[in-house]
């Protein structure tokens, strides 16, 4: 039990530490990498809590997602390397206050709530994966299918939004040049 608490705490501290670095560094590439390490530490927390499938899924998904995010950062930022020392923040005091209040309220609830009896043993990894598969293709199939359709819709919507609008003026210019 103490070993599990130790590893959950260590990976939790790593997730928090890298989470802070995301908004402390002026280099956007470092920010994306710090977020990747933070999310990986969260995945390791899942592994320490004996949730193997979700832990591996989290690490694999976030590795891909944050790599794409780093590319977008370099594409879109005015100062991706942070060499210019630009300040890209606003309403700092209000944001710090809101963050502290959000975390504080959640921590108070965590300590004050009566969570009831805590289970010591978790099902083994193979049993968990099998049971989750049965859940996905059984009782929760509608939710699972809805999640799939939502991702498909988001992909189509994102592509539609990103495609440049072809105006009639642009088309006329194109025809003139041809």
């Amino acid at each position: 039990m103490y070993a599990q608490a130790f590893f959950v705490a260590v990976f939790g501290l790593a997730a928090i530490g890298f989470g802070v670095v995301v908004f402390r560094t002026s280099s956007m590439v470092r920010s994306a990498l710090a977020l990747l390490f933070s999310q990986t530490a969260v995945g390791c927390m899942f592994l320490a809590m004996q949730t193997e499938f979700l832990g591996v899924l989290q690490i694999m998904m976030m590795a891909t997602e944050m790599s794409i995010m780093a590319i977008f950062m370099v594409m879109f930022m005015m100062d991706p390397g942070g060499m210019g020392g630009m300040d890209m923040t606003h309403q700092k005091r209000f944001s710090i206050g809101a963050g502290v209040v959000a975390a504080g309220v959640a921590i108070v609830v965590a300590f004050w709530a009566d969570w009831g009896p805590v289970t010591a043993e978790a099902p083994d990894a193979a049993m968990q994966t099998r049971a989750l598969g049965m859940e996905l293709l059984g009782r929760s199939m509608l939710i699972f299918e809805t999640a799939g359709i939502t991702i498909l819709t988001a992909m189509i919507a994102a592509t539609a939004v990103a495609i440049p609008v072809q105006t009639t003026a642009n088309s006329a210019d194109k025809e003139d040049t041809e």
């Binding site: 928090i16 995301v22 995010m69 890209m88």
Partner: protein, 103 residues
């Protein structure tokens, strides 16, 4: 065992707080999305801890985790779509310069 649950819940709470700070304080759209990702990571930690320590017999808890991961992916896809459209139109994804998006 309650100790591990509390450690996980406190970690989730602090991650959520850092995410709230990031989402409110950053002026760049991609950085704001990073803040939202951290908020959702905090929610994920809480959901996994609740499933593992309170209801390991019910797999609806793990189902919730998959739904939150879906929300993360959807947020990234739509956010980058909007970022590309905004960058094409105005040459910047700075939210300080996006006052014209107000209704």
């Amino acid at each position: 065992m309650t100790l591990v649950l509390i450690v996980a819940l406190v970690t989730g709470a602090i991650l959520c707080g850092i995410g709230v700070y990031g989402a409110l304080s950053q002026t760049n759209l991609v950085m704001i999305m990073m803040g939202v990702e951290l908020i959702l990571a905090g929610a994920l930690v809480n959901l996994v801890a609740f499933w593992r320590f309170l209801h390991p017999e019910s797999y609806s808890g793990q189902m919730f985790v998959l739904v939150v991961m879906t929300v993360m992916a959807v947020e990234m896809a739509v956010g980058f779509g909007v970022a590309i459209a905004r960058f094409r139109a105005k040459g910047s994804v700075e939210m300080e310069e996006a006052g014209d998006l107000k209704g």
